[in-house]
Symmetry: C2
Subunit: 431 residues, 2 copies
């Protein structure tokens, strides 16, 4: 891997998500050597992936080169690599570009879509956790509308225009809202020869309210916003199977839809060698103590979605979201610096800064600790917060410009099938 | 294809490039039915593809949804389709989504990279005529640098950092300049553990000057600009073979480079059924008369790169560039409207608005008819003209913002490997 030996202890961070990046930043200037590994050469701002899928944003605006983050940090190295195994005894990693030893290891691999073992849904449904996945979904949506024009079978045409979004968390809610706005504002103009009013957007939630991690008033209000936009919200319904067209549920309700987006669960990304049953919680998260040390190891840490720290407030670990990951990265950064200086570590304390979700233009819900609000102001707050946490000045400006433009023009111009997803549209591999 | 019958004559336009779009716009409001076919659902602003490849622009900023162009034009239809054959006797097209009859047919299929039959160069070299191709090149460049870090073989490492750009036209010159700026401004900061000064950018031109279609002063000045930036310009050298690493030429000169970009020739995209030898010129362009009628047909027209209209000024047809294509589209639009109204058509007259190429920041060359200039002012003109011809207000703003940012910060932040190009980096198909 060509990482030089150094007199400083070597910290290897696996994953350049919110946690890994926050940690790396905290370690700059400390007496450590840092190696950051990621299978992408960029950090992904996952909360805005749904806007890439719906043509509102360009993929490059919500991705940021990891090398750029680390620019000017001495003793920092980045390698584009996938970790295949951890040898905790020898304190060594194996990756697709070779092996390397660590002094401290931080697992920040995040989470991936959890299909709960349903292979049909995994095969035919779409996930939206990475930039390429979001672009695939963007292509599929547009390809289905192009195809809807070609059939005389009304059943088939409806199925091509219908959407089923499984999971009523922020991702599902935001995607459903965006699709509803596209249905209303763009489809009739783009497809005048198609009765796009027939397109149905179904949001299917297994429990009795959407946004279950938020307050009841947020759930209620978000549901009303969605209904105003024409989204069909199904509660207490669980999708059980999907064959690419027919969606079956645990109730009498079923759908015909050629696009099913699965946003109903995530699971931690575990690595061979650190996946023994006793290390993991339900959901495959690594159990960590209050210093983020993985149970049984002094030199292995985990942060973010992949880590489960049981606290009084969160007996099943912190929410798998950007905020806890960032705070954990910062806390661990300080602790690792203290560890190297042979000072005692400080236990992590999570500061809940609230949560939010947007449904559409002028429609968002925000829960702060003491104050909950919904509507236009919440929407501004949502936008401000997302711009603030987006990495990179250029990204912020470009996203802001796109939002202003989309708001004024009721438009989303990135409705481009750059890489076709369906085989029948992959007309030529070279182009 | 579900295009309704209409009492108006049906004009089918194959291709949504500069020519096809200009033509479609001219036909709006006329008593015709228009069907535009393209294998992409977007128009590509090809002159800026090299900036996508070099991480300076996002792909979505130089692409524009064709459906958006046609919004609000009554009797206009778009279909995402690839034409497989033309039956000129039955006046019918066959496509991958079915057949359809035309009253008038306009071939505006443009051009593709011409490897002149050299299969090795086609296999191992990179083309840059479409958005996906440009993104592939972007990925390859970045992947090669990531890989250069991993090898101890100095030979191998140099090859991974070397570039050979074949063809000294505007594309080759602009790409070479952009790569030289990246080498200088970004690589040392992104890859501090790599001696990126060793990276070589070679621009190889078969004739005795680069930019041969421009004035001698432009050629000379562009060459000096390139040399200032550290590009090796090779004249009177022709690349003859490439095995993915070793570049051989017709001279003693040879290169070791893992990235070869072929910008040394284009050929018209012909369609089965309209590719008889007597219809085509050298370079496979369709010979057309001064009304753009394909020889021997009254109802078939060709415009843009695919059309060759022999004139006194251009005995081998107009240059295969955006300007002639747009003017031809406009002229043909007027003529088709006149044809439908049974008025006589007017012969096409090309107005040469000049040509230009940029080499890097503050460095461009512009040839106007009576006035040739180079340097900073030429660079501003180049930017203004490109922004002006870019389709879409949002695209213009986003490109402008990116240019300002890149200029101030000496940066190009879209250096993202979204879809890996090399097999070894395609770690997981699903992500």
């Amino acid at each position: 891997m060509n990482i030089p030996q150094s007199s400083f202890p070597r910290i290897i961070i696996i994953g350049g998500g919110f946690g890994g990046i926050a940690l790396a930043k905290k370690l700059s200037g400390k007496d450590v050597q840092v190696l950051l590994l990621d299978k992408h050469n960029y950090h992904t701002f996952q909360p805005l992936l749904y806007q890439v899928s719906t043509g509102g944003l360009e993929p490059d605006s919500i991705a940021y080169p990891i090398r750029k983050v680390l620019q000017g940090y001495p003793n920092f190295y980045f390698r584009l690599a996938e970790v295949t195994q951890i040898d905790t005894e020898k304190r060594r990693l194996e990756t697709n570009i070779g092996g390397i030893a660590y002094d401290y290891l931080v697992v920040a691999t995040g989470s991936q879509t959890n299909f709960f073992g349903n292979q049909n849904i995994e095969s035919y449904g779409m996930a939206m956790k990475t930039v390429p996945q979001s672009l695939n979904l963007r292509s599929l949506i547009l390809e289905n509308f192009e195809q809807a024009l070609l059939t005389d079978d009304l059943h088939e045409r409806d199925a091509l225009m219908n959407f089923v979004i499984v999971g009523g968390g922020p991702t599902g809610v935001e995607l459903a809202g965006a699709l509803a706005e596209i249905k209303k504002g763009i489809l009739p103009k783009d497809y005048p020869d198609l009765d796009t009013r027939r397109a149905q957007i179904n949001l299917v939630q297994g429990s009795d309210r959407i946004l279950p991690a938020m307050s009841e008033v947020a759930s209620r209000k978000a549901e009303r916003f969605l209904e105003k936009l024409g989204v069909n919200v199904w509660k207490d319904v669980r999708v059980s199977d999907y064959d690419g067209k027919q969606v079956t549920t645990n109730t009498d309700t079923s759908f015909e839809a050629c696009t099913l987006v699965w946003a109903a669960g995530v699971k931690a990304v575990s690595i061979k060698g650190l996946d023994a049953e006793e290390l993991l919680s339900r959901g495959s998260r690594l159990k960590v103590n209050h210093f983020h040390q993985v149970e049984g190891f002094e030199e292995i840490f985990a942060i973010g979605d992949v880590a489960q720290m049981e606290t009084e407030e969160f007996p099943e670990g912190h929410p798998m979201m950007a905020q806890p990951a960032m705070q954990q990265g910062e806390s661990l950064g300080e602790n690792l610096a203290r560890l190297v200086e042979e000072k005692p570590m400080k236990p992590f304390k999570y500061k809940d800064k609230g949560s939010m979700a947007t449904v559409g233009r002028n429609k968002a819900v925000v829960d702060l600790k003491k104050f909950k609000f919904q509507g236009v102001f919440a929407w501004y707050v949502w936008m401000f917060v997302h711009l603030y946490f987006l990495i990179g000045f250029r990204n912020r400006v470009v996203v802001f410009i796109n939002w202003v433009y989309n708001y004024i023009k009721f438009d989303r111009e990135a409705r481009l099938i750059i890489r076709p997803f369906k085989k029948e549209y992959q007309v030529s591999k070279k182009t």
